[in-house]
């Protein structure tokens, strides 16, 4: 049988992005899924984006991924979160039509010319020596690939838990992947176990929306993708209601039945997406928790009850739901449940998402211990690009923490000990003012173009936009506004009139001034789109901070450039704490920068390492031996 360039196992959010990236990079790609009818499924809330996550989607889009376009095409509601807060934490969030999302993604996969889709249950990664060669399916077929990307989500030895009931399943009603999990252990990967859960869904007819607060979408033209033509569409409403004391009393009454209390679930769940049981235990002082009631699709009556995640027995779920205003007569169509699954401890991965011990095997998505569709898709596109590059014998692609949230995500995964599913937040990034959701295209599209994932036309648009912004900023630093032009407007909104002419840039720098005031000042300004105005305003207002962040990046870059040899013996280090040695041996950092971010490694340890590496480097330059990370192996 012919060998594929890239084989992708799993067609969830990570798998789809990985396969599309590889196929678009002219690699013959095979994608296998356990069920053809469940491609790009969103088993939890069909929502994409949000703070941190929305940044990831924009970055995926800038790299030439599909998630942003797919969300734009299928959303029922879209809005910018935190639009009243600082620029770093603003991000788009969409409620999509679950089924339409699946259908469109499937269509995209089917229309990709180098991509082949197949339904099969993979039981084994074929490994020869320490190299992955392909896959074996349960029905006995073998497929060979130069590289393999594993994106099996929660299916590895998946187990569903509801109340005291537990049974093996990858998702509700579906078969788990049992053999593959044992196979991964056999080939030497260390697995951990994590848990995640989903709330019950209720029938629209049984909900009294008059007791809830409607949550409309944005009126403007919000979208994820930088490249699609923007179109306003009719949007659906979401609703907000709250739990109350009664709710918490019911939870307390039945807490002894909760799987987290009975011990059926001992694994860690996502801290920032806690179950109602967990919320009641952890925040006894809180009298109300929000419950967002959100539609699952244009054509279904199922409503998602965000905030009521639980794996308590369904009759208890019913009682809990009934205490919430508007849900008194709610008919639960699907019970909430928890799923416990195996994951690969990500310290075993390189920042390219290739496993350290098995060459040519990449892993991406929930299998690496993350939570969220966006985190999965972000890893998917990186693994797909790197698998394709590797198959073609080209150098690998690593995004830095200073370039993208995706870089932060990957760096965190390979340098941090994970004890709960990893979720992206803006607070995880140190260069938030640079890594904004609005400038992801300017930051990253040159990569997308380089790899052939973005068309020349789209890339040109981004270049033009960047140039336009740069030119306008320079112009505003020279051009003056005279008092006569603006004073009337300023007084109208209760601001002091200008005393003399002011440079436009200086004016925009004032916190109380926004671009809306000067948007119509000159005839040429009208042509400038709102998106560009916003970026100009941000770049000018936060110029000082942004400059400082760039300086910081420069300082740290030196640390990143200190590469550590592949075979470096961390235990031979003197004057380094035992803990630091142990941790570095486990994570095997590739640069001093990476080493410095490992918990348990102190600045003092880094100083020692630096001296050590300097000695090594001079010695190395003399002898010309030893392999360094980042160099061609």
């Amino acid at each position: 049988m012919k060998e594929f360039d890239v084989i992708v196992i799993g067609a969830g959010h990570a798998g789809c992005e990985a396969a599309l990236a590889a196929a678009r990079m002219e690699c013959s790609t095979l994608i296998v899924t356990i069920n053809l009818d469940k491609i790009a499924l969103m088993p939890c809330n069909p929502a994409v984006g949000g703070v941190g996550k929305g940044h990831l989607v924009r970055e995926i889009d800038a790299l030439g991924g599909e998630m942003g376009k797919n969300s734009d095409a299928t959303y029922m509601q879209i809005k910018t979160l935190n639009s009243s807060k600082g620029p770093a934490v603003q991000a788009p969030r969409a409620q999509t039509d679950k089924k339409a999302y699946e259908d469109r993604m499937k269509k995209v996969l089917l229309n990709e010319k180098n991509l082949f889709l197949k339904q099969a249950l993979v039981t084994e990664i074929i490994v020869e020596g320490n190299e992955a060669k392909g896959i074996k399916t349960k029905s006995g077929e073998k497929y060979y690939g130069k590289t393999t990307v594993l994106t099996s989500g929660t299916f590895l030895r998946g187990k569903i838990v509801i109340g005291h009931v537990e049974f093996p399943a990858g998702r509700a009603g579906e078969l788990p992947a049992e053999e593959l999990s044992f196979n991964l252990k056999r080939i030497g990967l260390e697995l951990g176990r994590l848990q995640t859960a989903t709330p019950p869904r209720a029938h629209k007819r049984s909900i009294d929306f008059s007791k809830m607060k409607p949550q409309p979408g944005d009126e403007g033209e919000t979208s994820f993708s930088f490249f699609a033509t923007k179109k306003k569409r009719a949007q659906e409403l979401c609703y907000l209601t709250y739990t109350n004391r009664n709710t918490h009393q019911v939870v307390h009454k039945f807490l002894h039945l909760s799987p987290i209390k009975t011990g059926i679930i001992s694994e860690h769940g996502p801290r920032y997406c806690p179950s109602i049981d967990r919320k009641v235990i952890n925040f006894p002082e809180k009298e109300a928790h929000p419950v967002f009631v959100e539609p699952e699709g244009f054509r279904t009556e199922e409503m998602y009850l965000q905030g009521l995640t639980t794996a308590l027995p369904p009759y208890v779920q019913q009682e809990i739901v009934e205490t919430v205003p508007g849900l008194e007569r709610a008919w639960i169509m699907r019970p909430g449940y928890a799923v416990v699954y195996d994951h690969i401890k990500p310290y075993q991965l390189r920042p390219t998402l290739e496993t350290k011990i098995i060459k040519n095997l990449f892993t991406a998505g929930q299998i690496n211990g993350t939570t969220g569709y966006e985190e999965a898709a972000a890893q998917g596109i990186i693994a797909g690009i790197n698998a394709a590059l590797k198959a073609k014998g080209k150098p690998s692609f690593i995004l830095g923490r200073d370039e993208a949230y995706i870089g932060v995500l990957l760096d965190d995964l390979v340098t941090k000990e994970l004890d709960e599913p990893y979720r992206m937040f803006t607070s995880r990034a140190e260069y938030r003012l640079i890594l904004r959701a609005d400038n992801a295209d300017i930051r990253l599209s040159h990569y997308g173009y380089k790899f052939g994932l973005l068309t020349e036309e789209n890339y040109k648009k981004v270049r033009e936009k960047a140039q336009k912004i740069g030119n306008l900023i320079n112009r505003f630093k020279i051009e003056n506004v005279i008092p006569a032009e603006l004073d009337e407007k300023l007084v109208k909104i209760g601001l002091k009139p200008l005393r003399a002419g002011v440079k436009i840039a200086d004016l925009l720098r004032r916190p109380e001034i926004n671009y809306m005031l000067i948007k119509n000042l000159r005839s040429g300004f009208k042509k400038i789109e709102d998106g560009i105005w916003k970026q100009i305003e941000l770049e000018i207002k936060y110029e000082g901070y942004i400059k400082r962040q760039f300086e910081q990046i420069e300082r740290y870059r030196k640390m990143e450039e200190w590469k550590i040899p592949v075979d470096f013996d961390f235990s031979s280090l003197k004057n380094v704490t035992f803990e630091a040695k142990e941790k570095m041996n486990r994570f095997r950092p590739q640069s001093l920068g990476q080493a410095s971010r490992i918990a348990g490694v102190s600045p003092a340890d880094i100083a020692v390492m630096m001296i050590y590496l300097k000695q090594l480097q001079t010695k190395d330059r003399r002898t010309k031996t030893g392999t360094w990370h980042g160099e061609k192996e």
Partner: protein
């Protein structure tokens, strides 16, 4: 624990189950419709829904009775034609499988007398004159009538090459407890097997080797057929799209006299010839069914008043026959309840 009382509980939301629930609801019966997976109700394994005169007969009956199946079929069909085969004219109708599922689900959800829920049944008990259905997750449901339409889920076991496993359908977990109920109730079960044919990719399909069939639907889609002889038996292979929105093709053979294993063998040979890119392999499903002599024409089981069965649970049937049985059971249940009230 909460007890809920209904006029009717329908177990299984396949073609029979959905139609049964819909018919009873039309007659204002309170219905609870239970399914193991809300994402695969009214599941069509392939898009061929009509391929002989028998099916046309069922379709006419369903249309006459304003059945949900007939309505949605009309809305989602993309091929309607005829084929001359074995000295007779065979009607051929194809529907978009995905659209069909989405529409049925949406319609069912909008009927106020139907309460649709994802749950798993672990036990069924006759209590006084009522049926008590116990769910895996602790729900207890009570009803006057019970229709079981769990299709091929009774001891379902699939075989796909070396891959053998227990499943109601491939990829889904099975529900063994309903079988225990039948055994305990001294209802005889028999074994049977059915086969599904593979789904292939449209890309690179040598269309010139097949004959296109004329479509009565304007702007509909094209389908092809191919005739061959295998072991002195005529084989007719139909190749048609799975739906409007994807490029899969589904295979369907017309002569069901040939044994399942032989069919797959033939197909493998055909495949060697055409080099189909198989996206989803065909498989064999062994399962048990209720021996039909125990069922009276209303689809009630003899000596088990108010217990009905419909669809493939009483033997292999075509999609429309399943829907028709659902229609009959659902309508009869309504009469029964009205009678007992009267």
């Amino acid at each position: 624990m909460k007890k809920e009382k209904y006029d009717l509980i329908v177990i299984g939301a396949g073609h029979a189950g959905c139609e049964a629930a819909y018919q009873a609801a039309l007659n204002k019966r309170d219905v609870l419709l239970l399914t193991i997976n809300l994402d695969s109700i009214a599941f069509l394994i392939n898009s061929f829904v009509v391929f002989d005169e028998n099916d046309m007969k069922y379709l006419r009956e369903l249309k006459k009775g304003h059945a949900l199946t007939a309505k949605v079929l009309e809305e989602t069909k993309f091929f309607d034609g005829e084929l001359f085969h074995s000295r007779e004219v065979r009607p051929i109708i194809l529907v978009d499988t995905r659209e069909y599922f989405l529409k049925i689900k949406s319609e069912i959800e909008r009927v106020s007398y139907i309460n649709l829920r994802q749950d798993m049944v672990v036990d069924i008990v006759k209590k006084d004159k009522n049926w008590l259905v116990l769910s895996k997750f602790g729900h207890e449901y009570l009803s006057t009538n019970l229709i079981i339409c769990c299709g091929s889920f009774l001891s379902g076991q699939y075989k796909m090459g070396k891959d053998v496993g227990f499943a109601g359908r491939y990829g889904e977990i099975q529900a063994p407890e309903i079988r225990d109920f039948f055994i305990r109730s001294k209802i005889k079960l028999k074994k049977t097997s059915l086969s599904t044919l593979p789904i292939i990719e449209q890309r690179d399909l040598p269309e010139e080797r097949f004959l296109p069939l004329e479509n009565k639907i304007k702007n509909g889609m094209t389908m092809f057929f191919f005739k061959s002889i295998y072991k002195n038996k005529k084989m007719l292979i139909l190749i048609g799209p799975q739906g409007r929105s994807n490029s899969y093709l589904t295979l369907k053979e017309l002569d069901s006299k040939i044994e399942t294993r032989e069919k797959l063998k033939f197909l493998t040979r055909l495949n060697g010839f055409f080099k189909f890119k198989i996206v989803r392999p065909g498989y064999i499903l062994n399962h048990e069914y209720i021996e039909p002599s125990q069922i009276i024409p209303t689809l009630e089981i003899k000596n088990h008043q108010s217990l009905f069965v419909a669809g493939e649970i009483s033997g292999p049937k075509s999609f429309l026959q399943c829907a028709y049985e659902g229609f009959v059971a659902g309508s009869n249940v309504s009469c029964e309840t009205i009678r007992s009230e009267g």
